[in-house]
Symmetry: C2
Subunit: 355 residues, 2 copies
């Protein structure tokens, strides 16, 4: 099974605010790599944005990278920005966002292009990419490796875990090898991604509680006759939250080095956002709790809903998703006292040594 | 008003068979230009496909160009194919077509990318395109220049004609200047496009009869209350069929030369297709007539419907389009004795002199 693209028609741009917060942590590393970015053989510098979705979360990092490149190379330096995602990605929204958003990086001499292919293949010519960026994307696997007892790798049996771990290792190796081919010698690839603390089966992504609640809600819907047993069994989210050892594993064989590696707790940006919006002198904690519950449900729906329910045909898929994430929002609202996520974030700079 | 993209969700791929026939006339010129295509100093050869729509009609010319480039430069030569179209183009169908169609040009070392911006701007870095191709696209104007008494430039008043002619000249000049910037010195741009015979207001595109029938059908629908007077007045197709003098006009100022220029009658590929499918020993001319009438209506709907009815909101736009092109099909079926089109085709090779 191939992975469906993010929810289309601009929904990801609207609701992927946690992803935007996370990307902010990589900007300093991106700017440093941009200052050293080599041009390709034709003179333009190519920036590749791997897993761009509908583009909004790419505008700020691409602007920062372009500014840094032009500070070093002059304001006339031509730059190609290559946004990649799966073929079913909403590229029309991406191109409109780049053309029209007030925060866009688009300016004279900057040329946006899109690549609608999986980033587990080589997407651009050999030694043509002067700077790489990927934000909250490489936790997605190329396909669902196999059945799960639950919907999320954390609920796998030992046998299922081994199969998923092997598939995740193969995907990350393929990603690294493809980038090793594309990068210009001397170029850097900055990756911001959700990851895991702990080791092997004891790892924790920080989403365990929400995912267990989602799994229970889906099982309850099957009990209510809203989902068949087969549909319940096939529901799985093809994502993998890697450990530090896993991130490092394939680099040396691909001729790349880990120039920078940093792990830290991101916490729960949705919780922070909901509570920062609260009227400082007000007492409407119920309003804050409702806003938080809705944002948790919307965020998980836009990020994980399409792949979780990929086996269902439309319009049933949308109807099931609405009911499922309504139930999730209700569960969050029933227990509003603490954040539902403790996301772990990794920022890496992977370098291709200059010749 | 900006021009909407072609009908989406694969409809253009299904029904743009006349466009595919027309493109065949440019393949020999494309192969010749491909043999001489320059790369950057050491890098990949970039082929730009201006106005790609959903991609199916690009597969054969891109395959031929890639084969020719690799015959000269070796089978390991890396090649980027940059398909351009407006932001609302159906890029997902394009990427799926390139990935999955049995006639696709995709092979190792060939990298498809998309650019979702108007080809009246520079879309790719300066001196980066080694070979250009544009098939049945540059008759589209960047916008509707102004009101028309009918729906098509051939029904313009003298004053309207002058406004449209000036806008069309400005668009073609902008296209030529943008390509002059993008082409590598020594590169060629092959253009296949519908054009006009005659001069100025007496020019003929070969679609006059069909367009007059479409205009009358739209006026009749307004008379039937299916369209408001304002909607009828704003309906216009922003296309311009240029004369030889117009095609040549802006080249020298842009530093380009007309290396090859050929005009010939294309006739009516839909008529030819409908009649070639007839059972040779059969007598079912009624079936042939119905097939031809339907193909005329489908072809004009997919090519011109979206821009003609751009002022109408959905779902009314689709309903009006269905009724309008049903009426066109009925009119064609009422007079089946001869082809409804006498398209004129121009094949040009525009060259950027080597330094």
């Amino acid at each position: 099974m191939s992975i469906p693209a993010m929810a289309g028609h601009g929904a990801y741009n609207e609701h992927a605010t946690a992803q935007a917060t996370a990307a902010g942590f990589g900007i300093d590393q991106l700017v440093a790599a941009a200052r050293a970015a080599p041009s390709g053989p034709t003179g333009a510098v190519t920036i590749a944005d791997y897993g761009a979705s509908q583009g909004r979360n790419s505008l700020r990092p691409m602007s920062a990278a372009i500014d840094a490149i032009r500070q070093v190379r002059g304001s006339a330096q031509e730059i190609v920005v290559a946004h990649t995602d799966l073929p079913d990605n909403d590229f029309s929204t991406l191109f409109h966002t780049v053309a029209d958003d007030p925060g866009s990086y688009l300016r004279p001499g900057v040329y946006p292009v899109a690549v609608g292919r999986s980033f587990y293949e080589q997407l651009l010519p050999t030694a043509s990419v002067g700077l790489g960026w990927s934000s909250i994307a490489v936790h997605w696997l190329s396909r669902t490796p196999g059945a799960l007892d639950g919907i999320w790798f954390a609920s796998a049996t030992a046998e299922q875990y081994d199969m998923w771990a092997a598939a995740a290792a193969a995907d990350w190796r393929a990603f690294v090898q493809a980038r090793a081919a594309e990068l210009v010698p001397g170029a850097g690839l900055v990756i911001v991604v959700g990851s895991a603390v702990g080791e092997a089966m004891s790892r924790r992504s920080g989403a365990e509680r929400a995912m267990a609640t989602l799994r229970d809600a889906l099982a309850a819907m099957a009990g209510d006759g809203l989902l068949s047993a087969g549909e319940l069994a096939s529901a799985a989210i093809p994502a993998w939250y890697r450990t530090a050892a896993e991130w490092h594993a394939p680099l040396a064989a691909a001729g790349l080095t880990m120039q920078h590696f940093e792990e830290f707790p991101l916490g729960d940006p949705l919780w922070d956002a909901a509570h920062s919006r609260q009227d400082p002198g007000g007492t409407d904690s119920g309003g804050v709790d409702r806003a938080y519950a809705l944002s948790v449900a919307q965020s998980l729906r836009v990020s994980f809903g399409p792949s979780l329910l990929a086996g269902l045909p439309e319009p049933r898929r949308s109807a099931v998703a609405t009911e499922l994430f309504d139930r999730l929002a209700a569960a969050v609202l029933d227990d509003p006292g603490r954040p539902w996520f403790q996301w772990q974030l990794t920022v890496m700079v992977i370098a291709k040594p200059a010749r």
